[in-house]
Amino acid sequence: MGLLSDPNRRKALINLLTRLNTPICLVCYLAGIAWFMGLAFEPFTLRTYMSENAMGSTMVEERFPAGERALAMGREFAVHKKKANGMPVDWLAKAMQARGLEVFTQSFSRTLPFTDEIKERYMVKGTNVYGILRAPRAPRTEALVFSAPCSPGSNDNQAVGLLLGLAQYFRSQIYWAKDVIFLVNEHDLIGMQAWLEGYHHTNITGMDWTPLQGRAGSIQAALSLELSSDVITSLDLVLEGLNGQLPNLDLANLFSAFCQKIGVLCTIQGKLPRSDWDTAEGYTHAVQTMTLMVLKQASGRPWGDHGLFLRYHIEAATIRGINSFRQYKTDATTIGRLLEGMFRKLNNLLERLHQSYFFYLMPSLSRFVSIGYYMPAFGLLAVILLLRALDLWVQLGTPPPVTEDGPAEFQQPSGPGMLSVLTPVVISHLTGMALYTLPVRSQETAVEHFPVSETEAVVLTAIAIYTAGLALPHNTHKLLSGEGTEQGWKVLKLVALLYLAVLLGCVALINFSLGFILAVTLVPIGAFVTPHVPKALSAVVMVMLSPGFTLLYCIFIYQELQEAPVSLIEGWMIFLSVISQGILDHTLYGSLVYPLLALLIYPCWLLFWNILFWK
């Protein structure tokens, strides 16, 4: 700090920063990207380890014997599900009762803002059935949840069968210290949302549900099982939850520990861990796995039924059985033993899972990158905005080389300057408001006037407003101040840069992936845009780096990494459905990505657009 308190040295430092601003920014950007890519390199990552002592190595024995019977139950469930054309409430309640559980049901209904075309639902009515295994000598203060979805078609019958089988087996054991809730939820996440809201007696999304009759205290952890075949080749662990929240890393550690112990092939993001990290393929594999996680986390969607638990501070994960064309198959008994082991370990918990990391990325199931390692990648990008802002600040602060009245004249343009800054800020935020509210509000009008379905209407309105926003604001300041001054755009850009820096900083703290992806595309815009760059070329670049196109790229990358590459047209269709899903996620579960993009990121981007067309 002595450096800064000496005016000469301060001046020198500032001179250095302003003179070398562009190269430093370039270096920072490249370093940020390189750092991020380096995260997947195995020598730079840590091996996962169990932090929670209460779940230490191999203290439980798995004895679950009845996989075949569980599958038979699953088949019976399928028959009754078909008969009832939905949740076979009575049959399931009886089946749970026969296993000695306390059985309760909860019915719920929800009208979606517009038709969900992927899942084909608009008016949703359903019933959740859950049974509580009361721990022998615990006073109903703690619980674990085991859930399986009752999904349409022939999906997940085996999961329900295994749930019933495990319930029967668990019931005859004496060691339970926490109640175990066996939940079969209908309409996947909507049912889960209804159940969780009912359990915690809150209503955040305006859903109708009947109050729960039975409870079991505070839920410590939850596992959700998705299983659609009698035998599986591997189990996939899904961690990403609502708004990019992740469960404690110990839950993932527990899963991988049991995978190793029982000898089941286990994956994350559908990718097996590889040992050849020093080859290019091995490294690419790790990068792909990590990028998939980043993309999924950035989407802010719950990627399994577990995703909604995280809001309630309940550590949860989804375990998904995958049956592919591998030789080696695992039967239901083994999966049952794995789940039994996990539940027994969770039952041993003395405290909530809190020892391990909550912020991490996983380049493979056995490796992780903690927040301390990945944050610098984002920090290097964010510092560009600050450097640019500093540069502008210095430029604004240097009095123009004129006469002695210089300072007095310098004060004057800041008056209209304020106004000329405020107007674009307000207008772009109003556009953001329109983008947030209008698509859902105006769907009826749109359906009346255009030959589109409601869902298409919503998505197309959103895209229309988004595009219209490009035309709107860059003409406004002329009406007010006649002509934009050099000072004017600099102030506006300074504000926009700081705004973006704060915005991205906050987003990255909550959801690193989203923050990083946005930083990668928005920081270059913030860095280079001035009214003096070639207009047409810059405009094209800016549009290509706008949030909407970022989403499109993410979709293509995601499909590529999922090994299901799509053509442009298919990609576009997915793009449309992703927008509608984003709006639905927001209204149904309270996901924050859509409002964030519409109300904050997009207006911020418009500010830069405004600067580009400053006259």
Binding site: M1, G2, L4, S5, P7, N8, G100, E102, R134, P136, R137, A138, P139, R140, T141, E142, R171, S172, Q173, I174, H200, H201, T202, R215, G217, S218, R311, Y312, H313, L350, E351, R352, H354, Q355
Partner: protein, 576 residues
């Protein structure tokens, strides 16, 4: 009050038998009994009660108290030293499931519960209470020494003395619960030692911990109070009642088979009564099984006893252990219940309560208490007692009592606000429950941020809030059915019989586990280092930077020039 109502018929039976066997009534006497009640859920409920009555006077002088026969000396000394009028202590592992099991004979909350009425001669009750809890902690090997002012309350209405005397000034009452207390063999052993026969003979041979703790519910209790010495009630006698209630689970203890015997439950059979016991009996509840269509009970017994228990008329098969023929040729008694048919649905318990915490996040929350009145047409009042620790700051203005979607104004509210780190909230309300309704009591709270030394060693486990207590005079089931004319003569059944028309009942809700905002305790070191560095380096110099103005200083003039300037100043000429 509860025992007076329930035990009146039984006691008269016992009294008759006693007067036949012992013509000179000794100064102290001991009775033991075991009630076995098959539950509708397929589980089985066994309730032991051991009663010692001694007509001595602990409170006057030390004479006559040095010689103890059946009454345990350790407790006698406690009574005299601390001038205890009444003492009730219970240790419970598990939660009584009212909806599956009906009512217990002696209800108790999970964990430890202690309530004591002191004699009005005690001047400093708080310090006496403190000493008493420490002494009891030693006697019962429990963490009762953790009872302090933050978890002790003085309920004004919910806990009235159960024995003689009508002192109702709640200054002399102290009530505390420890919901976290874990009950195990170390508590059972001292409890058994209080029995005159120990666990050597009588019913107490069944009390083997490996089986008692292999159960769904385990509750042991000690109740000391004064009762009438005889029917004239001219002088009081001290009663020590030790009870142990246990529920064995159908699936974990019974291997899913509805077949229970003493041996299966306790891995022991009975061979004799306790020699010093004046009465020793095993009761088996056969009310639901009058013609033996539901289950077989073997060996069969011809002795039956009827009693009104908790407002319901029950029939019991009785095995009298003081009679040698009870044990048969095998010289041991092992009653066996074998089900033949499925038990029908249980009558919903008339009163039932449950409680949970609503909301999410670590800032605020809401405690919901649901009280069910399942009586089809009678409304009755209940007393709700809530004790909430200070670290949940109740917003008492948000207190709402709602039954049948309508506001239900409590006719009596006694609220004592908490003081941080000193005392807890006490909320007592008298609420009228409409017939066939659910009454919901909600109150919002804020979670306090504790000082860092106040966190328990496992702060992420959460903090316990003790059970709320619902006390009520519940309309009796006997009074409820008006068609019951077969068993009683017509002339007796026109008006509902007054002592059976309602009975006292206490229901405990589940305790709550609440998470408080908890710092990451692995972090303090990092945090301290980081903040100190930031403050020292960053803040200090930034403060310097922004508060000072910087000017380029002229290089200081040489010695010659300074001298010249001095001279010029003296001359009154402007300096160089």
């Amino acid at each position: 009050m509860q025992w007076q109502v329930t035990d009146v018929p039984m006691n008269t039976d016992n009294g008759d038998i006693n007067s036949e066997e012992y013509t000179p009534i000794p100064k102290d006497q001991f009775q033991e009994e075991l009630v076995i009640k098959p539950l509708h859920s397929g589980d089985i409920y066994a309730s032991f009660q051991f009663r010692t009555i001694w007509d001595t006077d602990f409170s006057h002088g030390k004479k006559g108290m040095s010689h103890y026969r059946l009454f345990p000396k350790s407790l006698g000394q406690v009574i005299s030293k601390f001038s205890v009028r009444e003492l009730h202590i219970s240790f419970t592992q598990g939660f009584w499931r009212t909806m599956q099991w009906g009512q217990p004979f002696i209800p108790a909350p999970p964990g430890a519960e202690l309530w004591v009425w002191f004699q009005d001669s005690v001047t400093d009750i708080d310090s006496t209470w403190k000493e008493l809890t420490n002494v009891l902690s030693g006697i019962f090997c429990a963490s009762l020494n953790f009872i302090d002012s933050t978890n002790t309350v003085q309920p004004s209405a919910s806990f009235k003395p159960l024995g003689l005397g009508n002192v109702t000034d709640h200054r002399f009452l102290r009530y505390a619960t420890l919901p976290r207390e874990i009950v195990c063999t170390e508590n059972l052993t001292p409890w058994k030692k209080l029995l005159p026969c120990g666990s050597k003979a009588g019913l107490a041979v069944l009390l083997k911990s490996e089986k008692l703790f292999h159960s769904s519910y385990h509750s042991e209790a000690v109740h000391i109070r004064t009762v009438c010495k005889d029917w004239q009630c001219k002088s009081p006698a001290w009663e020590l009642r030790q009870s142990l209630n246990v529920v064995f689970d159908l699936y974990t203890s019974g291997q899913g088979k509805k077949e229970w015997s003493l041996f299966k439950m306790f891995s022991r059979t009975l061979t004799e009564a306790c020699p010093v016991a004046s009465s020793s009996k095993v009761y088996v509840d056969v009310t639901d099984n009058p013609q033996g269509e539901l289950f077989d009970l073997s060996p069969a017994t011809t002795l039956y006893s009827q009693a009104v228990v908790l407002g319901d008329r029950r029939t019991y098969s009785v095995y009298d252990l003081t009679k040698p023929e009870t044990f048969g040729t095998m010289r041991s008694l092992n009653p066996l219940l074998r089900w033949k048919a499925d038990a029908g649905d249980m009558l919903r318990p008339l009163l039932h309560g449950e409680r949970y915490v609503a909301g999410f996040g670590l800032q605020t929350g809401e405690i919901h208490t649901l009280i069910y009145n399942n009586h089809p047409y009678r409304a009755f009042p209940v007393l709700l007692l809530d004790t909430v620790p200070w670290y949940l700051r109740l917003y008492i203005h948000t207190l709402k009592v709602i039954s049948k979607t309508r506001d239900n104004k409590p006719s009596y509210i006694h609220y004592q606000p908490s003081k941080d780190r000193v005392s807890s909230h006490l909320l007592e309300m008298l609420i009228q429950l409409p017939p066939h309704s659910v009454t919901e009591v909600t109150v919002q709270f804020e979670r306090a941020l504790l000082k860092w030394t106040e966190y328990t060693p496992d702060p992420n486990h959460g903090f316990y809030v003790g059970s709320s207590v619902i006390s009520a005079l519940v309309p009796s089931i006997v009074a409820m059915d008006t068609n019951n004319t077969q068993e009683r003569p017509l002339f007796s059944s026109f008006f509902p019989c007054k002592e059976e028309s309602s009975y006292f009942m206490r229901v405990y809700t589940e305790p709550l586990l609440v998470n408080l905002p908890t710092p990451d305790f692995s972090m303090p070191y990092n945090v301290i280092c980081l903040t100190c560095t930031v403050v020292a380096v960053g803040y200090g110099s930034f403060y310097n930077l922004v508060t000072r103005t910087f000017q380029v200083e002229e290089p200081s003039p040489g010695l010659a020039r300074r001298l010249a300037n001095v001279i010029r100043r003296i001359r009154g000429v402007p300096p160089l």
